[in-house]
């Protein structure tokens, strides 16, 4: 139970920050008249967050007692998440409404938020020393 709460908290923290960053950066580009970049960032950011949420939520199913079932579920989860991440990329390649590089940046939004948080913490710790 404690494990579920910690994982859920982590997902909420990074997921909401990633979404906020994607929307915030998207709005900034919208204000500059770059609609395609805005749409790409938000689209990628949403799918990045959903992928991260699925990654954590499938943990409890992946860690079942039955090894065969755990292997099956892990593979299914992996496949599902890659298909999910392919959706915004295919959409942005196919449609002019989305900027492709912005969509790519968007699908790395959760990773960017994680790295930024720990990078900040590292810099602050050097500062204290």
């Amino acid at each position: 139970m404690e494990t579920d709460t910690t994982v859920l908290d982590t997902q909420k923290k990074y997921g909401s920050r990633a979404l906020m960053l994607a929307i915030g950066a998207g709005l900034l580009f919208l204000a500059m008249g770059q609609k395609e970049i805005c749409r790409g960032l938000v689209l990628g950011g949403v799918f990045s967050t959903v992928n991260f949420a699925l990654m954590g939520q499938s943990l409890r199913y992946r860690l079942s007692d039955n090894r065969k079932a755990a292997t099956r579920r892990s593979l299914a989860s992996l496949l599902l998440r890659y298909v999910l991440l392919a959706i915004p990329l295919v959409l942005s390649v196919r449609s002019d409404r989305f900027n492709f590089p912005a969509t790519v940046v968007g699908i790395f939004m959760v990773q960017l938020v994680i790295m930024a948080e720990h990078g900040k913490r590292l810099i602050l710790s050097f500062g204290k020393q």
């Binding site: 992996l78 890659y82 990773q111 994680i114």
Partner: protein, 325 residues
């Protein structure tokens, strides 16, 4: 009729390249994530009370370790769906080279970035109070491990978007495939080796938290040197992509360029892993004997320089194949 054939070849090359990019790209990240999960199991069995923190660390580590395969996914989707433009046989070679570069290039980084994740989970079970430091160290190590995969993606994107239509078909087709092979293969060793150093660093931080500064510094230096073979690969790829080769329908001219890519590519795998081993040893023992950090760093750098020499031989032979043969 001829035009239709060329168009078909371009599609065949793009689809094969896309399959190789994602197929091989998934291998490394899956192994790396699996390693992290395996070590998380050991850690939970050792300290079940902090299972929540261990799972959190595992999740964050896996999210970053997955980056290499997401790079591969991006390149694969581009290869499958992008407008191929004016079809010609050089375009087909470039698209295939892009897939090869990204596919091979993601293997080492994917596996390597799993090592810090796994060791951080284990370390957490030993030193729960160092959770933040361990996670930060894991993320830095994991991020540096992605560099060879980023080199491969850069080469793949250049092959995808650069216009080679003015170059002669023979032997440029071989140069473009060679460019993909050079960076892609060389990235395997560097990504894996960098991961070894990062894993040892997480173990060291958990073992001796006071030595965190020395451990992180030697990890970064060790990882930087372990990246060198993939930089050689990148250099040969750039030469193969940017140099204009005189037209020659002789097969040996094409094979010399393809061989140049293969030589630096394969030649970079061993030195990348070897450099990682040297860095792993130094980082691990600095944590146990921090007073001798300077000696350990010196021995690591000398060992890495010697291990590097085989990558230099490979690059010299590649340059001979490009400029002399």
């Amino acid at each position: 009729m001829m035009e239709l054939d060329v168009q078909a070849w371009v599609k065949v090359a793009a689809f094969a390249g896309g399959g190789i990019a994602m197929g091989l790209g998934a291998v490394g990240a899956a192994i790396g994530e699996g390693y992290t999960a395996a070590q998380a199991n050991v850690a939970v069995a050792r300290s079940p009370k902090i299972s929540g923190d261990i799972f959190k660390n595992m999740l964050v580590g896996q999210a970053v370790a997955e980056s290499a395969s997401i790079f591969a996914l991006v390149v694969a989707i581009l290869l499958l769906f992008i407008d191929k433009g004016d079809p010609n046989m050089l375009k087909a070679a470039a698209l295939f080279g892009a897939g090869v570069s990204m596919g091979f290039g993601a293997i080492g980084s994917g596996v390597g970035s799993g090592f810090p994740g796994g060791q951080a989970c284990l370390g957490l079970s030993r030193q729960p109070a160092m959770a933040n430091r361990l996670t930060t160290n894991m993320l830095i190590g994991s991020a540096v491990c992605q560099t060879p995969a980023i080199f491969s993606m850069v080469v793949a994107l250049m092959l995808l978007f650069m216009d080679f239509s003015n170059a002669p078909l023979h032997p440029t087709w071989a140069a473009l495939i060679g460019a993909g092979l050079s960076t892609g293969l060389a990235a395997i060793g560097s990504g894996y080796g960098g991961g070894m150093a990062a894993g040892a660093s997480c173990e060291g931080v958990a073992r001796q938290p006071e030595a965190v500064g020395n451990v992180t510094t030697i990890m970064l230096v060790g990882q930087a040197v372990a990246q060198t073979p993939s930089i050689f690969g990148l250099l040969v790829s750039f030469i193969l992509m940017f140099k204009t080769f005189p037209e020659s329908t002789q097969l040996q001219a094409a094979m010399a360029l393809l061989g140049a890519g293969l030589c630096t590519g394969f030649g970079g795998i061993g030195p990348g892993v070897g450099n990682g081993m040297a860095a792993e040893g130094a980082v691990r023992w600095v944590a146990r004997n921090v007073k001798h950090a300077a000696d350990l760093m010196r021995i690591m750098l000398v060992g890495q320089a010697v291990s590097q020499s085989t990558a230099i031989y490979a690059m010299v032979v590649s340059l001979v194949l490009i400029f002399v043969v």
